[in-house]
């Protein structure tokens, strides 16, 4: 366990350095993008090794405790963002928005006990991996939309406009954010379908409006509403940014709030 924690802390420090450099680069209008990408990848490798060691030790993946769920989501969100950072050089300064969101999650993670959790019998299915994996892609896609929307909102101020002047215009950022929201909709839909298949086998019903299902569905509706509003009313990029943030907030609450305040069977606790 000691090695896991050393690797995890090393990863967190590496991510923090990457984020700090990204923020400094935006403020000083420098382009340390290669360094930020390299640090993110190095952090991901350390973090992945930590998760792998824990997986090997416990015999199950990071699906049970808040510590495990936060850790695995920080990894997957950063992996998604690193991919976008590499593939879309024009929006790299958005790291100054995305990485601080992940800092909050890292702060939350280090306050959690790394205790072992009980792996419920209903979790022993391939649908766990499919459902969780699809959910991670969904949340990652929405996070990237939030990063792009954050740039649009930050540019409302004079200082923000100066910091993010190098990025494409608001319309272009809004269009890219929309594309990631659309990707999010596909993956959230798949996540809900995979979850329903799992629930049918595990609990004898594909849908029961338990707290997690209800909030996940409300997130889906919010996402559908955002995309439909965009098509129908052609809102300003700032409205699009606020909608993306609304979707992310609901998704965040669903992923990290509901499972830990609810005693519903969706946790596999019975």
């Amino acid at each position: 366990m000691k090695a896991e924690m050393i690797l995890l802390w090393s990863a967190i420090v590496t991510y923090t350095v990457a984020g700090s450099i990204a923020i400094t680069g935006v403020v000083l209008r420098k382009r340390p993008e290669g360094t930020v990408l390299a640090l993110m990848l190095f952090g991901l490798a350390l973090h992945g090794a930590s998760i792998g060691l824990r997986w090997e030790r416990l015999g199950h993946g990071p699906f049970i405790t808040m510590f495990e769920i936060l850790s695995s989501n920080i990894w997957s969100l950063l992996a998604m963002f690193a991919l976008v950072y590499w593939r879309f050089p024009a929006v790299r300064p958005a790291a100054a928005i995305v990485l601080p969101i992940l800092f909050v999650m890292m702060g939350w993670l280090v306050m959690q006990s790394p205790r072992d959790g009980h792996f419920p019998p209903t979790y022993k299915t391939v649908w766990l991996f499919i459902h969780v994996g699809l959910g991670k892609v969904f949340l990652g896609a929405v996070l990237i939309s939030v990063g792009l929307g954050g740039v649009v909102l930050a540019r409302a101020s004079e200082r923000g406009a100066a910091w993010f002047a190098r990025l494409p215009g608001d319309r272009a950022l809004d269009e890219l954010a929309y594309r990631f929201l659309a990707l999010g909709l596909i993956f959230e839909t798949l996540m809900l379908v995979a979850g329903a298949i799992w629930a049918q086998d595990a609990w004898g019903r594909y849908w029961a409006w338990d707290p997690l299902e209800t909030w996940a569905f409300l997130t889906w509706l919010m996402l559908v509403f955002s995309l439909h509003l965009r098509f129908t009313l052609k809102p300003a990029p700032r409205v699009g940014a606020l909608l993306a943030m609304g979707v992310f907030c609901l998704a965040f609450l669903t992923f990290f709030g509901v499972p830990f305040i609810s005693k519903a069977p969706h946790q596999g606790a019975i």
Binding site: V91, P121, A165, R179, T189, W209, M222, F231
Partner: protein
């Protein structure tokens, strides 16, 4: 190729209804019902209904059914009137799949069944559920279903945390032949569309023989003590033997620790136990094979068995719902994929904020 070609000239936002040669008034009405702005309001209304049902403010079935029906009407009218759907096949397929899902959900709610039953080891399901809830159009076929609980094992991790449940059953297929199966976590028994699941609900089942006073015929059966280990300190039940008028209060006394919280263990029958029976102010202790004459008959305690609680679920729409969901999500991916591939994002080398 056709899709990519049409998407190079995408529909620029909401278009006016286009309904061929139909009567203008009808077209206008349909256009209003299919308004895309109305869709936004209805999605918001549906979200409010979901939240209200979740909070217990509204009765779930109607609170959800009403906005969903309105959404379905809006969606159908939009599909019929908006030219976007005829120009973008994938979008059309996605929305038709959504309509199919809504229809299937409604059909499922009208014909579903869910319920519970309990079977002792060796007991065969006789089609009777202890609890049931079903849609108004459910056609009961449970009398054609037969399966026998052949026994089960439930493992517990340290801390008395339930792990794997494995239940051996035999069941009768459509040709009347008996077949064996192993069910448990994530693995239901499916017969005639009814899906039977093991549950956390299980316990001990003392088996008795009861001979009523003045009769020579012994009736055999089990009673199901409260679920174990949730009620491990309340293993008692008050029951009335067949034909009797006075009840017998029966308690199982277990003289050992069955689920050691410090170890990984499998739930089993106790090696030593006693049944304590109270009737008409008298207290009697029985061990397997012993019997006692009460005022209304003789009770013979045969031994201890276990019972398993099952849940049952029937919904013929499940495979169709899955198919409609797969079609919907594939169409959605096709729509967005074709659209984005046809128009790559221009931000990388176009305008900047400055």
């Amino acid at each position: 190729m056709r899709i990519a070609r049409t998407l190079r000239k995408p529909v620029a936002g909401p278009a006016k209804p286009d309904f061929g040669g139909a009567a203008p008034a009808a077209v206008a009405s349909l256009g209003r019902i299919g308004s895309l702005r109305l869709t936004l309001w209805l999605i918001a209304l549906f979200a409010i209904a979901v939240a209200a049902s979740y909070q217990g403010i509204a009765q779930p079935t109607w609170a959800l059914a009403a906005p969903l029906a309105l959404l379905a009407a809006n969606l159908a009218a939009a599909v019929a009137t908006h030219p976007s759907f005829r120009k973008q096949s994938a979008l059309l397929v996605f929305h038709l799949a959504l309509l199919a899902i809504i229809g299937l959900l409604a059909a499922g709610r009208l014909t579903y069944l869910k319920g519970n039953l309990e079977l002792s080891d060796g007991q065969t399901f006789d089609g009777v559920l202890t609890e049931r809830e079903n849609g108004p159009l459910h056609r009961d076929a449970l009398e054609r279903v037969a399966f026998t609980n052949l026994g089960f094992s439930v493992e517990y991790a340290a801390g008395v945390r339930r792990a794997a449940t494995v239940n051996q059953v035999r069941w009768r297929d459509a040709r009347g032949e008996w077949r064996g199966a192993e069910i448990g976590d994530n693995a239901p028994l499916v017969i005639e569309g009814y899906r039977f699941y093991t549950t956390f609900n299980k316990g001990f089942a003392p088996q008795f023989g009861w001979t009523a006073r003045g009769s020579t015929e012994e009736q055999r059966g089990t009673i199901h003590l409260p679920s174990y280990p949730i009620n491990q300190l309340q293993q008692a039940l008050e029951w009335t033997p067949p034909g009797a008028t006075r009840s017998l209060w029966t308690m199982l006394e277990i003289g050992e620790v069955l689920l050691d919280p410090d170890q990984r263990v499998t739930l089993r029958l106790p090696r030593e136990h006693t049944l304590v029976i109270r009737a008409a102010g008298r207290r009697v202790e029985l061990r397997p094979g012993e019997s006692h004459a009460f005022a209304e008959g003789r009770l013979r305690y045969e031994g201890l068995r276990m019972w398993m609680g099952y849940s049952v679920f029937y919904d013929w729409t499940i495979p169709w719902l899955l198919a409609a969901c797969v079609v919907a999500v594939l169409a959605l991916a096709w729509h967005f994929g074709a659209k984005f591939l046809a128009e790559p994002w221009q931000g990388g080398d176009a305008e900047t904020a400055t």
